[in-house]
Amino acid sequence: MWQELRSEVFPRGLEIVTVALDVDAEQARPFIEAAAPEHPALVDSAHLVDELFGVVNVPNGVWIDEQGMIVRPAEPAFPGRSPVTESFRTIDLSTLPPDIADVLTEARKIRTDPEQYRAMIDDWVEHGARSRYVLAPDEVVRRSQPRASAEATAAAHFELGQHLHRAGDHAAAIPHWRAAHRLFPSNWTYKRQAWNFEDPIRQGRTDVYEGSWYDDVKAIGAENYYPPVVP
C-alpha cells in the first residue's frame, strides 16, 4: 500500500519511511519483501518510535518537513485505502469460529478515514508549508500523546522486556510487558506486540496477560480504537 503511494509522491518531493514495530524483525520480513519497497523500510524492535514520537497504535503517520521539523505528530494513517478493515466488513462471519466472529463483529466498528488522510497528504505535497494541514510547532507538541510518569515508566519496562526477549529470555520479558500494559493501558502497540507472542492468531485471553484484543477493545468500543484524525 505504501509503496504504491510512494511511487506517486516521491517525484513530488515526499519520501515515505516505513518503520515496523516488530520486536522480532523476521516477522516483518515477509510483508516488506512482498511490498518490494523503494523507500527505506526499517525495523524498530525496541519500539523507539513509541517513545520518541508518541506512537500508541498502528498504522500511524508522522509528517516531517524538509528542515526536519515535525509538522503533524503521530496519528492514525491510511494511504487512501484500509484493506484490513475493509476485509472485516466483507467476510462472512457465519464461516468463522464463534470467538473470531465476535472479534470481527466488534472490529467492524473501527473507524478510519483513509480517503481523508490521502487528501491531506496530497495537499501537503501540493502546498508544502502553506498546506492547511501543516501545524505550527507548539500545536504539534500539544497534539502529541499525553505523557506523565506512568507512560514514561511503561516505555522503560517495554524496552527492558524486548531487550530480555531478544537476549533469549522471553519469560523475563513478561513481567515487564505486564507492567507496561498496566501503566499505559491505551498504548495498543505494547499490548498487541506482547499478546502476539502468546497467541498470534486471536491475541486472545491467556494466563500470561490480563487483557486480550477483544476484551480491551470492547471495553472502550472499537469505534474509539483509532481517534479521529483532526485536520
Binding site: 498502528v58 526536519g68 504539534v140 506523565a148 522503560a156 527492558l160
Partner: protein, 116 residues
C-alpha cells in the same frame, strides 16, 4: 534506554535521547534544563542525576543487572518535548543502519506499522 550501570557516556545518551549537553544544561529544541556539576563524574554522566532533573523514570531489573531510563516527563506533559524530529537511527532488514536525518531536504512521511 537500556543500561548496565548508572553511568552513561555522553555521546550515547545524546544519540539515544535527543538531549544535548550544553554549558547551560541539557537542551532539546527550545528547552534547556540546568544540570548540577555533579552530573559529570570521571567515567561519564551520572544517570541518577539525569533521571531526576529530566523527570526520566529509572527502572531497575536487579535480577538481570539492567536498568532502563525512560523518556523525559514534566516538561510539556506530552510525548514530544519539541517539534524538532528526533534523529532516530534504525536498521533495515539486513541490519544496515539508516538515520532519519539522511532525508533532510525532503518531506518525510514516517509510517509506523507492524506484522501483528
Amino acid at each position: 534506554m537500556i543500561l548496565d550501570s548508572l553511568v552513561v557516556a555522553q555521546d550515547a545518551f545524546e544519540d539515544r535521547t535527543g538531549w544535548r549537553l550544553e554549558p547551560q544544561g541539557a537542551c532539546k529544541g527550545e528547552v534547556c534544563v540546568p544540570l548540577p556539576a555533579e552530573v559529570r563524574n570521571a567515567d561519564g554522566l551520572d544517570v541518577r542525576v539525569l533521571a531526576e532533573r529530566l523527570g526520566m523514570p529509572l527502572v531497575a531489573d536487579e535480577e538481570h543487572g539492567l536498568f532502563a531510563l525512560g523518556p523525559e516527563t514534566g516538561i510539556t506533559g506530552r510525548a514530544l518535548t519539541t517539534a524538532e524530529a528526533p534523529d532516530v537511527e534504525l536498521p533495515d532488514l539486513d541490519g544496515n543502519p539508516f538515520r532519519l536525518s539522511n532525508l533532510r531536504g525532503r518531506k518525510v512521511l514516517l509510517v509506523a506499522w507492524a506484522s501483528w
